[in-house]
Amino acid sequence: MIPAVPRLGSLPSRWRLQSIPICAIMLGSMMTALPIISQSPSMPPFGLLILLAWRLLHPEMLPLWIGAPLGAFDDVMSGQPIGTAVFLWSLMLICIEVIDQRIFWRDYWHDWLMVVGALVLCIGGALLMAHIAGSRTPPQLIVPQIIWSALTYPLIVRLIARLDRWRIMA
């Protein structure tokens, strides 16, 4: 299916290169529209995982401020008070930026560790904001979600790498 090389004389359009990552992240956020009625926070935050996969695969592709608009879309889809993911995703991208400047060589395990940190920041931060708003959700309820979101990341990063190949090969 995937052509081994780009066709001669044709470079992928700028629009295609830019829009595919954004669309992939938004589709990930829209996973909550699937007809799954869950009784506890069980679905991994796919929008966040796909954003992390693109950010760690291509550190310079997405602008630093992309967390704000994509976070706003994720808030609308997930049902959190709007602004939660705007704040947390922006904070997370700045943190990854700072970590990137500290470590010179980055391995697969570093990526995974960063993903776990980002998941704790975003899911835990959202819970903290809900607590400030008056919710009394027990904190241990999000631990399973963080664990299997971290375990889903290798699958997501492979899917995104495949999508990335298709993106630049057309």
Partner: protein, 303 residues
């Protein structure tokens, strides 16, 4: 892999400025997000408009896939039922035999009830049903428990209306869009419902625990009267939920309160019923005052 170089601009003044500006925009965006969280708490209307608009966009996907997923969701149950068929058949037959006298008794009581109500000239509001809908999606990725139904303002659904299934209470509407509505499930910890135990009317408060169960706390302090197997129903206090809708069955006891499982599992129910708030049928106090003033001592004479 090695880290990229463009975000370490070195001596290039223009690249330095560009990097600085991108940091400024990002920090501004993050602070704007915090501001939005505070604003959305103060005035949730604007947010609910955006959310219900997106719900309309994703509605076709949710509704068309709903059948498929509910079939997959009960697959395990079907397999277990097949394996257990023999022993289950025997147990169910015994249960039916045991239930038959109670059923006949209940029918007799129902007849008597109708007769007594006719004697008292009580008129029951039967037009409390607003719409029938399906649960099409839920907030699966966050800690709040919100589900979405496939009916909205065009079907008469408005915020605040109670939602139930045949098996029991589901929750109440918090956001209503044109064709969809968001429901706060009774397992959300911001959904507080006054309940009573069926067999002896002990009053309690049911609060969601966000993990598919509810906490049932008796109003009277002291020893916890609840035992596993107790069923609680709504009282009608507060005027939102109509009385005697099944809420939960107690499964465990934990430090002074009982843990209950909702009788209507949102993941399993076929269809849900949106009802009018119970209180809407109670006449406003102003009319009562008028009636009292035109007919003084009416209450005393009736007594």
């Amino acid at each position: 892999m090695a880290r990229p170089t463009s975000r370490r601009p070195g001596q290039n003044r223009r690249a330095q400025y560009g990097l600085f500006v991108s940091y400024v925009i990002t920090v501004t965006g993050a602070l704007f997000g915090l501001l939005l969280v505070i604003l959305s708490r103060a005035d949730p209307t604007g947010f609910s408009v955006i959310r219900s608009t997106m719900a309309e966009v994703t509605r076709p996907v949710s509704v068309s896939l709903e059948r498929l997923v509910s079939g997959v969701g009960s697959l395990d149950e079907n397999i277990v039922a097949y394996v257990k068929a023999g022993s289950q058949n025997l147990a169910l037959r015994r249960q039916v035999d045991a239930n038959r006298p109670m059923l006949i008794e209940a029918q007799a009581i129902k007849q008597e009830n109708i007769r007594l109500k006719q004697l008292l000239h009580l008129v029951e509001g039967t037009h409390d049903k607003v719409a029938t809908a399906r649960l099409v999606s839920s907030s699966a990725s966050i800690a709040r428990r919100i589900a979405r139904i496939s009916a909205g303002r065009m079907q008469g659904v408005l915020p605040g209306m109670p939602v139930r299934a045949d098996e029991g209470l589901i929750g109440r509407v918090i956001i209503a869009g044109p064709n969809t509505a968001d429901i706060l499930l009774l397992t959300d910890n911001q959904n507080i419902i006054p309940v009573r135990r069926v067999k002896d009317n002990i009053a309690a408060i049911s609060t969601g625990l966000d993990d598919g169960t509810v906490e049932i706390r008796p109003l009277n302090a002291g020893s916890n009267p609840f035992r596993p197997g107790d069923v609680v129903v709504t009282t009608g206090t507060g005027g939102l939920y109509s009385p005697n809708v099944p809420v939960a069955i107690v499964v465990a006891l934990r430090d002074g309160a009982a843990i209950g499982v909702p009788l209507a599992n949102p993941a399993r129910v076929e269809a849900v019923l949106v009802q009018r708030p119970y209180d809407a049928e109670v006449p406003a106090p102003a009319t009562i005052n008028n009636a009292a003033s035109t007919r003084p001592f009416a209450g005393v004479m009736a007594r």
